[in-house]
């Protein structure tokens, strides 16, 4: 994998590219172990360093099984360049056990230094704040201003007992195992296999484990004497089993501290402990075994007891810290209970990591929340890509459906051609219709003569003397069709028997019947009187014939004017409105 840079030095695009690189090339997104603590992982390697001896154990948390770990020499521990055989072995074994991650927990038992807090921090409510400052800015809380933060790591240890001289103290460990952890982390990155490291102070873990070793029932203060090969740590508990003070005494090459009895006695006195119980806990394979006898002599009024931990198979009695540290807080059932023991376990004061991954290294990688965000975002890419693809498919399908229809490939020039044909035929039709209109049988001589002939039946007693017929269009301009009128004027002679006929003809019905008959006989629609666009009027005037000479009818000649007692004048007017089918088109024919 390419060298990663701290994101603060990158622009947003390069930050994203780096995050994407981590997501794609590492298992950080899929393996939550990268973001867990070492003691939370299912498979762990515990390394205990007490000075003369380094022991390792494998711990399978699921099976609650402890087994002997690989050999680790002091040389390997102190020289990271020689870590490969050890690291490869633990990786191989871890993978062979089906583990997806490995927790490496270093129990440091070869040093245990105490540094006092500044008196101004003597406030129980500020404990959490102190805990954070001890990690980030230890010099701001330590009374000794000469300490060098890059050389050691400090962690706060609270004194829960009421009446303690201070609310807490700090435990200091050197950082000389940090390169070992750094080498392991680099190897983990190369192998893309989570190796999570944690460095614990073995005496702190042992103090927490005291509750599992002491038999309940004693109501006296007690002192836990943690007997390590290179140091002795003293933990002073009050009668409520709450921690009041921790002291450490270096052996300086001897099997026990030179001023041990004196230190114990003076501390008891300063804490006003009267004949406290003394619980001796040997925490090395070859520690001074005569110390308990000496204590019984020196502190005759005190109960002196060598404590033994009930440990799982595979963990020797003299190195209980791995087993104590591995007990999950939820399942921890101590023999004696106190605020101190519950606080040390639940708030993890005793299992603080002294050598965590440096913040500037940790920040190179996206956090678990960011990896989750990125992972979900990548899932959303699939959804978004699917949406986009579906959208494009829908568009393509729609386009295909449209394009495959004949209307799509329709050439608009064909429409123009059709329009041209319509125009051409339309003009031709208009022309034909116009001529048809002008050539209509609206006024014909032979039809007028037929109308005259059937108006006066043979031997009807009437003699027509004059006949005139005229037709004229209406005077109107600007109209597309013009009406017209036709007029007939007929004069003649009539006998008595014909007067009824003339009177009958001189009615609307009479003249209409006559015109209907003419239309029927001639087939000339101009004589059809029906319709609202035509108007037919008749006026018959009869008067006495001044030249009439009465004589028997049989003697009178049909053409003799004097044989007719009456004369008549008949005028018929027929009007056609401009909306009549026979109206005249006024426009010129194209």
């Amino acid at each position: 994998m390419a060298t990663l840079s701290h994101p603060a030095s990158l622009n947003p695009l390069k930050q994203f590219a780096q995050a994407h690189n981590v997501l794609r090339r590492t298992s950080r997104a899929s393996n939550p172990a990268w973001y867990q603590e070492a003691n939370e992982l299912a498979f762990q390697v515990h390394i205990r360093v007490d000075g003369p001896q380094i022991v390792t154990f494998y711990f399978d948390q699921k099976k609650n099984l402890w087994s002997t770990g690989p050999t680790l020499t002091e040389e390997t521990l102190n020289d990271p360049s020689k870590i490969a055989p050890f690291a490869n072995e633990v990786l191989r074994y871890s993978r062979s056990q089906g583990a997806t991650a490995l927790g490496v927990i270093l129990h440091i038992a070869d040093e245990f230094a105490i540094a006092e807090l500044k008196p101004e921090f003597d406030n129980p409510a500020a404990l959490n704040d102190l805990r954070e400052k001890a990690t980030l800015d230890p010099t701001s809380i330590l009374e000794d201003s000469s300490v060098q933060a890059d050389q050691s790591a400090w962690r706060v240890l609270p004194y829960p007992a009421a009446g303690s001289a201070s609310i807490a103290t700090t435990i200091a460990l050197s950082r000389h195992y940090a390169p070992f952890f750094e080498a392991l982390r680099l190897l983990a990155e190369q192998a893309n296999y989570p190796i999570i490291t944690s460095a614990l102070s073995a005496p702190l873990v042992a103090i927490m484990g005291v509750s599992h070793a002491i038999a309940p029932g004693s109501a006296k203060p007690f002192v836990a004497i943690l007997q390590y090969p290179w140091l002795t740590a003293l933990a002073f508990f009050n009668e409520h089993s709450d921690l009041k003070l921790v002291r450490t005494l270096q052996h300086r090459g001897l099997r026990r501290p030179t001023n041990f009895r004196n230190a114990l006695a003076t501390t008891n006195a300063s804490l006003e402990f009267v004949d406290p119980d003394l619980f001796l806990i040997p925490l090395g394979s070859n520690v001074d075994s005569a110390l308990d006898a000496d204590l019984r002599v020196t502190f005759a009024n005190s109960r002196v007891e060598v404590l033994q931990f009930a440990l799982p198979d595979g963990v020797p009695a003299w190195c209980p810290e791995p087993a104590i540290a591995a007990i999950p807080a939820a399942t921890d059932v101590p023999h004696i209970s106190s605020h101190t023991f519950s606080t040390l376990r639940e708030e993890q004061w005793a299992t603080q990591n002294f050598l965590p991954t440096p913040r500037e290294i940790e920040e190179i990688y996206p956090t678990r929340a960011e990896m989750k965000l990125f992972r979900y975002a990548r899932l959303s890419w699939v959804a978004m890509a699917a949406c986009a693809l579906l959208s494009l498919c829908y568009v393509a399908y729609s386009a295909f459906r449209l394009v495959s229809r004949p209307e799509w490939s329709f050439d608009t020039s064909a429409a123009n051609a059709a329009k041209g044909r319509i125009t051409k035929f339309g003009q031709e039709k208009v022309k034909a219709n116009s001529w048809s209109n002008l050539l209509e049988d609206r006024s014909k001589a032979w039809a007028s003569m037929e109308a005259l002939a059937i108006m006066f039946p043979k031997d009807g007693g009437m003699l027509v003397k004059t006949y005139s017929h005229s037709a004229k269009p209406e005077n109107a301009s600007g109209k597309s069709t013009l009406g017209f009128s036709k007029e007939w004027k007929i004069s003649g002679l009539a006998r008595d028997e014909s007067l009824d006929y003339l009177n009958q003809l001189n009615t609307r019905e009479g003249i209409a019947a006559h015109f209907s008959e003419v239309a029927r006989i001639t087939g000339n629609s101009a004589y059809n009187p029906s319709g609202t666009t035509r108007n037919l009027v008749i006026n018959v005037r009869t008067q006495e014939n001044t030249g009439y000479k009465p004589a028997p009818i049989e003697e009178g000649h049909m053409l003799d004017d004097t044989t007719y007692p009456f004369t008549f004048d008949l005028t018929i007017t027929q009007r056609f409105e401009g909306t009549d089918p026979l109206a005249i088109n006024s426009a010129k024919i194209p």
Partner: protein
């Protein structure tokens, strides 16, 4: 500290969302444009189909009318007065000479029905003497041969010299091309 959160949010969520929205938007836009184009084409196509059917219908009608129209146009192109004279001569040849005689023929200027239309027309006045039915037959024949003749005036009165014959004076408006 969340150093990557902002860049992941921008480049892994916002940018892909914008790209997706752009793709979908472009798709919708393309579809919309295609639909609009198709609607236009469809309208043109429907117009074309309607026009095509109308043209076919018109063509059928016009084809039926065309021979008649051609006949009319050929007829209307002829000079009216000479055509009437010619036709009258042909008609009277087939009728009894005693029952029909042409007594006058006079071409007139445009008037009568012709004044109502912008179409070219002329008038002719003809005087005839004959029997009623023979004259009716002659007019029927003439008006059948020349449908462009529209009767403008008709006067009938008895002939003073021959009681069996009638005097006819007829004025026609003749449509011309």
């Amino acid at each position: 500290m969340f150093h990557y959160r902002q860049s992941i949010a921008i480049f892994a969520i916002v940018v892909p969302a914008i790209v997706t929205a752009a793709v979908i938007g472009a798709g919708i836009s393309i579809k919309s444009k295609m639909s609009t184009s198709f609607e236009t084409k469809l309208a043109s196509y429907k117009e074309y189909e309607t026009g095509r059917l109308s043209a076919l219908e018109l063509e059928t009608q016009v084809n039926k009318q065309r021979p008649l129209l051609e006949q009319w146009e050929a007829m209307l192109k002829q000079e009216t007065a000479s055509t009437v004279t010619s036709n009258l001569r042909q008609i009277t040849e087939h009728l009894p000479p005693k029952e029909i005689q042409q007594t006058a023929f006079e071409p007139l200027e445009k008037g009568g029905f012709g004044s109502a239309s912008a179409q070219k027309s002329s008038q002719i006045r003809i005087a005839l003497r004959g029997t009623f039915r023979t004259m009716q037959r002659a007019f029927h024949e003439l008006e059948t041969r020349m449908p462009q003749l529209q009767l403008q005036d008709l006067k009938i009165d008895t002939a003073a010299s021959q009681a069996s014959l009638l005097n006819f004076q007829v004025t026609y408006t003749a449509w011309e091309k």
